[in-house]
Structure formats: structure tokens, C-alpha cells
Symmetry: C2
Subunit: 260 residues, 2 copies
């Protein structure tokens, strides 16, 4: 099942995607919901981020080729993470499918995409064993962890490097029935493939992350965990269109514009 979110009669509403149509629901996929009788055309809708998390988690560095190539790029030694220590991103930066990534006025040319798998939590998770983690996952969506590399290298935190407004496209929907073991993550800029890796080829897998997180914190329905990217991106600029495809989920597409 695919869940999306959009504006219906002036208010955010969840809906179920079926081919080219969306069936709006009253309520939420994380609680009770009732389907409307009348569906709407998917094409007619401006999609919102499929969920607004209470806490926005991100694994950060979680693929070996990314570790090696970031070390190369920064001239630092190769230093893979020793444990599944989760990090954070910020809700202000979230935008939906087809919304514009806005490059800040004083950003360098090193604004880059990162195609990522996003896990969406379905029920409260505390002290969960790795083998039970699947029960707490609602589904998966797609993220583009847009990053300004000079700020990422120089600032004390990742606040503007990773969390400037519009730097976190997420969507187009949450898919509840995919197999991440056969999934590829593919990024295209203006139709040309620039990134392609096995989605589940992670340093620490999803059960390891969620089980460890849940020993210290409660994960809540609608919380999202961005699982990191492999390789490193290339620069994007005003006029580009970035597509992140996760095979089996779909394509998250966003144009790039310069700040006005």
C-alpha cells in the first residue's frame, strides 16, 4: 500500500495511492482512518511530505564507499563509524515531491544530492530486539539529503550544511510493501545517472540501528530515519532537476532554483 499526503479543502490529508488515483482518508495511517468514497487524480495533487515526524533521525555515514570517498574529498583519514550512533535532521528543511530545492544566496557551488532510503516508524518502539524490528516499521519512502560541503566541513554543527530550508526533499509516498534487499538507489540529474548503489548495502543495517536506538529512546509513529547514502554526489545548480529513484518505491523529483 502507498500512502501520500496532500491538501484537501485547505487542510493536509492522508490518502492511498492506487495507480493514477488517490483515495483520501479521514484520520491517519498511524491511527484510525476511514476511506472517502470518491478518489481524486494523483496528477492533480501537489504532494506534501508524506509524514511530518515528531523526531527526524538520520544515520549519516552508513556506507563504506561514502566513507572512503568523503575521506578522499576532505583529505582526512578513512574513519568508518564504530557503532550505530544515530544523528538528526530538522523539520524546517523538509519539502515534498516536485517542490523546489532553493540554493541559499551565500552557498558555495558545492551543493550536492544524497539519495537515501527513509524508514517510517509505525508504532511506539522501546527496547526492541533486532529480530523484532520489522514489526515496528510502517513503511519506506525516499529522501534527498541535500548538503552544502563547505559549511559541512567548517561549521560547528550541520545546521545550514544539511538543514537550510528545502534541503530535505522527502516522498513522493510511503510504500508499506517493498523488499529493501532487492532495491537499488539511483540518482539522476537532468536525466543522467550520477549515483547507483544497492540500497541495503549498509555498514549498520536497519535492525541494528533501530534496536540500539530503542534501548535509550522511544521511537514514535511517524518518526523517520534516513539511512545514509553511498558514494558522493556532484554539484547541483539552479535549473537542474534531481531525481532519486528507489526501485520498488518510485521516484522523488525536485527542481533546483537559486534564492531570489
Amino acid at each position: 500500500m502507498r500512502w501520500c499526503r496532500f491538501i484537501l479543502e485547505g487542510r493536509p490529508s492522508f490518502g492511498i495511492v492506487e495507480n493514477d488515483s488517490v483515495i483520501p482518508v479521514d484520520g491517519s495511517p498511524f491511527g484510525n482512518f476511514a476511506k472517502h468514497k470518491k478518489s481524486v487524480s494523483l496528477e492533480s495533487l501537489a504532494l506534501l511530505v508524506p509524514v511530518l515526524p515528531q523526531t527526524f533521525y538520520a544515520a549519516g555515514t552508513n556506507y563504506m564507499d561514502h566513507v572512503e570517498r568523503m575521506a578522499e574529498m576532505t583529505g582526512k583519514s578513512i574513519n568508518p563509524p564504530k557503532a550505530a550512533d544515530i544523528g538528526y535532521r530538522a523539520n524546517n528543511a523538509l519539502i515534498g515531491h516536485e517542490e523546489a530545492i532553493v540554493i541559499p544566496k551565500d552557498a558555495s557551488e558545492k551543493v550536492q544530492y544524497e539519495g537515501e532510503l527513509v524508514v517510517v516508524i509505525g508504532k511506539p518502539a522501546k527496547d526492541v530486539a533486532p529480530e523484532s524490528v520489522d514489526e515496528y516499521i510502517f513503511g519506506y519512502t525516499i529522501g534527498n539529503d541535500v548538503s552544502e560541503r563547505t559549511w559541512q566541513a567548517d561549521d560547528r554543527t550541520l545546521w545550514r550544511a544539511k538543514n537550510a530550508d528545502t534541503f530535505k526533499p522527502m516522498g513522493p509516498w510511503i510504500d508499506t510493501d517493498v523488499d529493501i534487499n532487492v532495491m537499488d538507489t539511483i540518482v539522476r540529474v537532468n536525466g543522467e545517472e550520477v549515483q547507483n548503489f544497492k540500497t541495503n548495502n549498509m555498514i549498520f543495517d536497519i535492525p541494528t540501528y533501530i534496536s540500539r536506538m530503542s534501548q535509550y529512546m522511544t521511537l514514535h509513529p511517524g518518526d523517520v530515519i534516513w539511512m545514509g547514502t553511498d558514494g558522493v554526489g556532484t554539484n547541483i545548480k539552479s535549473g537542474d532537476v534531481v531525481e532519486v529513484e528507489l526501485t520498488g518505491i518510485g521516484v522523488l523529483r525536485n527542481p533546483v532554483v537559486a534564492a531570489g
Copy 2:
């Protein structure tokens, strides 16, 4: 005016504190609201965190004595922040006034308090000049940035050092009419004063932080910014009671228990 939040008839509700009474409202202080005719006794209420932010910001290191004493504690050189780079905390960790701080099973004895001023945003803020920042502030509340120092030193991120469940007491209410220039931050453990500093003696003040943040991101009504602490704390343990007083706002009090 003082705004609190509590459970009324099974649902979270905002209310206005007047002496020993609370007047519940329908709606929210960040939008439209209507006062109830009947007030309730403040003492009878279990207070919730006064607001659940969309994004939970934290300045982290923002007082010179804290910089110097953390350097002393960790054996590293004194390294004050060069710019007002904001950081983050996580909503899962928030608890209200009188709720228990739970020390995780495998925490070291170095679990410590940090008394902090919390700024609550009142309206969407983007590209705000320092001299206009006051217009975007709804009010102030109190935070206790509980920290496990061995995890803070060793983990790749601050996920469990700062964001374990219950590590972020906030409250008891938001005060909209205080003067932070005459405010003291005082922490007491079991009634004994252990921290006392001028609240507004910051390295980067609130206008500097919010103006700089707003150049890159939109701050939203209800977002909170924890402004950091001065000095360093002492260890707290099961059975202790920690009080953070900000003169003019009130006292945030939380007992400490060990994980069961």
C-alpha cells in the same frame, strides 16, 4: 502571561496560569483561542511540556565559563565557538515539570544537569534583522539539558548523551513578560544550590542566534531554542530532586530515578 499545557478530559489542552488557578482554553496561544469560563486548580494538574516543537534547537556551548570548565574536565584546549551555529535536541527526550528523569541502565555515574533559558518562537521568522528578533519571540521557559558525560565524550553524535528518554525536562510554563537582562539561572539539587549565573551572559545573544538562523531556515511558532548553560554540573543519582529556577519565570522541578 503564563501559558501551560495539561490533560483535560483525555486530551492535551493549553491554559493560562493565574496565581493558583489555570484557565483552560480551546485552541492554541500560537493561533486563535477562547478561554473557558471555569478555571481549575493549578495544584490538581499534571503539567505537560508547555509546547511540543516542530524543531527543537539548542545553542549548546554558549557561555565562557562552561567552555573553560568543559576544557578542564576533558583535558582539551579552550575552544569557544566562532559563530552562532545552532544545534539540535530530540522531542522523544522531553518531559514536563515533576516528571521523573530516568537514568539509563548502562549510564555511568556522570549524569549531570544543565540549567538553561528556553526561547519559544511565536510567529514564522525568516530573514529577521537582530533588532527585530523580539517581535518573533512568544516567551520564555526553563530547560534542564541532562547529559551523560562519558557518552558525550565518546559517541559519534549526542544521541544518547543528550537525548535519552526523559533527558530534556522543560517547563513548568511559558512566560511572555519577563526581562532576561535581570534574570538569574539557579540550579538546586535536594535543595542545595549547585549552579548560579546571569542568564543573559551569553557568548552569542538571542538576537544574534535567531537572526543568523533565520537567514537559512524558517523558524515556526512553537519552535524552541535552548540557549546553553554556564559552568558545569555535578552528578545526579536516583533519589535526587533537581530544581532549575529562572528568576521571573519560576521553578522546573524533576525527581531522578534509576531505570527499572
